[in-house]
Symmetry: C2
Subunit: 329 residues, 2 copies
């Protein structure tokens, strides 16, 4: 705690308060303390002797530090878990760890009663072990077929895509394109199939030539955006906000105005969406609520009610990256 206090230039008492969730510490400071604590080996600080311990696996600590997404989700999770008598530890889910030790053995050794996974990918070693494990696991945006002790928590992608497409249709858009990260992960597969169902309700003849995907954001935009524009697309949905942000920038580089010439919609509502030029219309996932729901799913499993899937309602946040369809294009 002293190290964290020194690093942040606050008192040791403040750090202690922030870690224990005292109400007189601001959310910003709590976040800074948590962030620093994670960097410095948070797990060793937090655990109380009598508390049952839950583990949050994050795919990549760096990612966690760069984006508010994971933090807010973990915050929501902790806000519910700690008053219920659990302590929560954050652990990096690296491939080496997964090769070295089987999942159940790791959980047992560390004395974790359950795990929340942020960013487990389909190629992770432990994903198959989760099918047979009896330790409750909650997976953010991941569904593992036939694994009775895992819960998939996320938002209703179908609803999100419907809202986005309804919005574009009302603005007069006829040709709508879709850009996506590589379809190798469950979340992007789900969003694309949700998009397909939604677009085909509006336009039964929509065909995949208005779709483009690639592993990296810049590659995806540079490879596919000009092609979609040439085909007369006036509205583009993107599988996530960073891609939408890149699509907006690249459109502007190509001399187009957003939204006058091209409307762009993201997915997630990361904080950056309020700061893009123009501010981005996007499908919102409430990160704190996702974290809270993840804890509910966890406690429900621990209590013997095995939830398979828990999806929150999606919301469309309309900002300025969408407008009436350009008549001329």
């Amino acid at each position: 705690m002293e190290d964290i206090a020194n690093r942040l230039n606050v008192s040791k008492g403040t750090v202690s308060k922030a870690l224990s969730g005292a109400p007189d510490v601001s959310e910003t400071l709590r976040k800074a303390v948590l962030e620093t604590a994670v960097e410095m080996g948070y797990s060793r600080i937090q655990r109380k002797k009598d508390a049952k311990c839950l583990c949050v696996f994050v795919e990549n600590m760096l990612y966690l530090q760069q984006s508010d997404f994971g933090y807010d989700l973990i915050m929501g999770f902790r806000k519910m878990a700690e008053p219920a008598g659990f302590s929560v530890e954050v652990v990096e889910l690296d491939r080496k760890l997964q090769r070295e030790i089987p999942y159940d053995e790791y959980m047992l050794r560390q004395n974790y009663v359950g795990a929340l996974f942020l960013g487990l990918s389909l190629s992770d070693e432990w994903i198959n072990q989760l099918r047979t494990s009896r330790t409750p696991a909650v997976l953010y945006d991941n569904y593992i077929q036939n694994s009775p002790h895992t819960t998939f928590v996320g938002i209703d992608s179908s609803e999100g895509m419907n809202l986005a497409i309804d919005h574009l249709e009302k603005l007069g858009h006829q040709k709508i394109g879709y850009l996506s990260s590589a379809l190798g992960s469950y979340v992007y597969q789900t969003r694309y199939s949700a998009f397909l169902r939604a677009i085909r309700r509006h336009d039964p003849h929509w065909d995949e030539s208005l779709f483009g995907s690639a592993l990296h954001t810049s590659e995806c935009v540079q490879k596919h955006l000009p092609r979609l524009l040439e085909k007369g697309v006036t509205g583009i949905l993107c599988s996530h906000d960073l891609l939408a942000s890149a699509a907006m920038l690249h459109s502007q580089e190509l001399g187009l105005r957003v939204p006058e010439d091209i409307s762009v919609i993201g997915f997630d509502d990361l904080p950056l969406c309020a700061c893009t030029a123009p501010p981005m219309t996007t499908v919102r996932q409430d990160r704190q609520e996702l974290g809270k729901s993840a804890f509910y799913a966890m406690s429900s499993q621990l209590g013997g009610t095995p939830i398979s899937t828990l999806l929150l309602h999606a919301k469309l946040v309309v900002r300025s990256s969408t407008g009436p369809a350009a008549a001329g294009r």
Copy 2:
């Protein structure tokens, strides 16, 4: 209470205990009391002055009395709702009521803070009003697109169908048929598409000639079963237990043995499944847990976390209506 006591030949005190959920009243007696209370206008008995009131709409009281399904679900719901300070009233959802009074007005007049719907069908008058209503509604086995204040609660049909098909595959079945009630309701649509996804993972060439549906159970079995048998089907999945039970009986009437000649799997695990000859293998929905989850979804909505979908894990209950595939057929 006196009328119920007289009808059931127990004391008024016992009825009062049963209605208030006292632990020294057996589940069987509580059920009988609730059943009688519903018949006699339960809603007038139950409400306490200070309690917030939730409403359970049931499509058909008669159905509720004939099957344990609704009762167990309502029991699970009440078990959670009442300790949390809610009173629960059961109301028949008839078409006349829906034509006479808009949903929101009804809820307001009756002072209900939320509703659980059992058996709302796609043709019900109120289903469109639920899209715009701000009163939290939880729908058992029903999903209404783009309605931010409704939650769909059910079981994971995909998982159920996968478990059933995996089971038949392990027993050596190659040709698997599917019988269903008419696909006019959300639940049967969902089960059929879950079946399709599951069967095509095992047999990409499965075609719809091995599928049959009809409005009534007997009609469905008589029309389609002989056809499926002629095509060499050795295993049949049914959209629900009553249909599976009819399929077993009709197979036996046609001179076939279950499971030696034909394996049959139901869906729901109604109490009857343990009593069919032979006892039925079926996909289980835990009715009490569904009721409990429905209450969680309700309280989550009331607390401002809008859940879209909550699915429980499915289980396969293996009894004796399934066995190794007949080699000769």
